[in-house]
């Protein structure tokens, strides 16, 4: 993992901690927002609002519906594409 990826992941972990109260050490790229981190649809909205504020990237509903894990969100933020 490059330093850039690690920064994005770290920032995302902090946001998840903030909106869902899950400590960073319990979050991995494989963590599913809903199944593993216990987030509901409104918490996921809050997550992407904070992402917008911190990264300046506006993620539309149709996109974030397809980003189901932390790793997928990191990949989208870094490359602007929804991972397969």
């Amino acid at each position: 993992m490059t330093a850039v990826q690690s920064d994005t992941l770290q920032a995302l972990k902090e946001i998840v901690d903030e909106v869902a109260g899950v400590p960073a050490e319990d979050i991995t790229p494989e963590s599913s927002f809903i199944d593993d981190l216990g987030m509901d649809s409104l918490t996921i909205v809050s997550l992407f609002v904070l992402i917008q504020r911190r990264f300046g990237t506006d993620v539309p509903n149709a996109v974030f519906d397809r980003l189901t894990t932390v790793g997928q969100a990191v990949a989208y933020l870094e490359h602007g594409e929804i991972p397969a």
């Binding site: 509901d40 649809s41 409104l42 909205v45 809050s46 609002v49 917008q52 509903n61």
Partner: protein, 360 residues
């Protein structure tokens, strides 16, 4: 009438008008989450985690919009010590008065014994109290009326799809009123309001009354809402609107005594408190828990609740912030009215018989 607020008084910019009295009406039928769950496949726990709502009140057939609005108005007049005959204009905000005309305001004005004041309804959904208050304050400041009654009333239970798990639990009925009149110190800050019709489908009546005429008439229209989209809109937009309302009034969050956002959903309120950095000393209205989302009624209900509990101080500065169907939004800083006699209390019973006057 208002308690002077010397430590913040000079900084607060607003019209020389104020909220002189408050009155509310909560209908008699208390609806618990368990009762809602008889019709939708969910639980009390889910409703509470999703919205913060524990119960709401729904009107009986005789608790019509006119009856509830007039009762709240009479209570506000009594609280302000103003006679109905002194009211120069009656503004009613509602989306659940099921007559296209005449206005509900004209009927309410007559019912409370006002002396032929100006009277009209406004349609600004959940932002209706902020909109109406702004109109009232401007009228008083301009000398168009000495006292204006601003009334919000909803019977949203009538427009609910009781099987829609996104909305069935959310809304409650009731009425709230305020008397606005002249003051010797600023009491109503400039409104920050707006609309974005590109979101007009986000919260709406499912279909037009006109469609009920057709041979294959659809069902009774209901509230349709994309809750997640509303939440998203609120999360992005409300913070800057609140900041603008504070700035226009010349104050900061530190100058506030209380924060009274529209009681739409506890999750939105929590987000706002965080985003705006509302300090601990500021009382935050959270009466959505016990009233549900009562649309434009929520702000007067919440103000009364906060003042009656002693957490908000009469004469203190409150930031009001609301948004709703349109989408529209409105917010302003106000000086809180005198303490009410008590919190909003649900009616022990509904009126016994529907009369011609209280048919909605």
């Amino acid at each position: 009438m208002n308690t002077p607020l010397t430590e913040h008084g000079p900084a607060f910019r607003g019209a020389l008008t104020g909220l002189l009295g408050l009155g509310t009406y909560l209908p008699s039928r208390r609806i618990t989450n368990e009762m809602i769950c008889e019709r939708i496949d969910t639980s009390d726990e889910w409703i509470r985690s999703r919205s913060g709502i524990r119960f709401r009140y729904w009107a009986e057939p005789t608790e019509t919009v006119e009856f509830m609005a007039a009762t709240a108005a009479e209570r506000a007049l009594e609280h302000a010590g103003i006679a109905a005959s002194e009211v120069g204009c009656v503004i009613v905000s509602t989306v659940s008065h099921l007559h296209q005309f005449p206005s509900l305001a004209a009927g309410v004005a007559h019912r409370i014994g006002a002396a032929a004041p100006g009277a009209f309804d406004i349609s600004a959904g959940c932002a209706g109290f902020s909109y109406g208050l702004s109109l009232a304050s401007d009228m008083v400041a301009a000398g168009s009326a000495r006292y204006v009654l601003v009334i919000a009333v909803e019977r949203l239970s009538e427009l609910l799809d009781h099987e829609d798990s996104g909305t069935a639990f959310l809304f409650g009925d009731g009425a709230g009123a305020a008397v606005v009149g002249p003051c010797d110190q600023p009491g109503v800050g400039p409104v920050v309001w707006g609309s974005d019709g590109s979101h007009k489908e986000t919260i709406r009546q499912s279909h037009s009354w006109a469609e009920l005429r057709d041979a294959t008439a659809p069902d009774w229209p209901v509230i349709t809402m994309d809750g997640r989209e509303v939440f998203r809109w609120a999360a992005y937009q409300l913070g800057p609107i609140a900041a603008q309302a504070l700035e226009k009034a010349g104050v900061t969050v530190r100058d506030l005594d209380s924060f009274v956002p529209h009681q739409a959903n506890m999750r939105i309120i929590d987000e706002l408190v965080k985003e705006l950095g509302i300090p601990d000393h500021v009382a935050v209205a959270r009466s959505v828990e016990i009233h549900g989302n009562t649309s434009a009624v929520s702000i007067p209900l919440a103000m009364q609740e906060l003042l009656a509990s002693g957490r908000a101080r009469p004469g203190g500065l409150a930031l009001l912030l609301s948004f709703g169907t349109g989408l529209v939004w409105g917010g302003q800083v106000v000086r809180l009215p005198p303490a009410p006699a008590g919190p909003p209390v649900p009616a022990a019973t509904a009126p016994a018989h529907p009369t011609k006057e209280n048919r909605s």
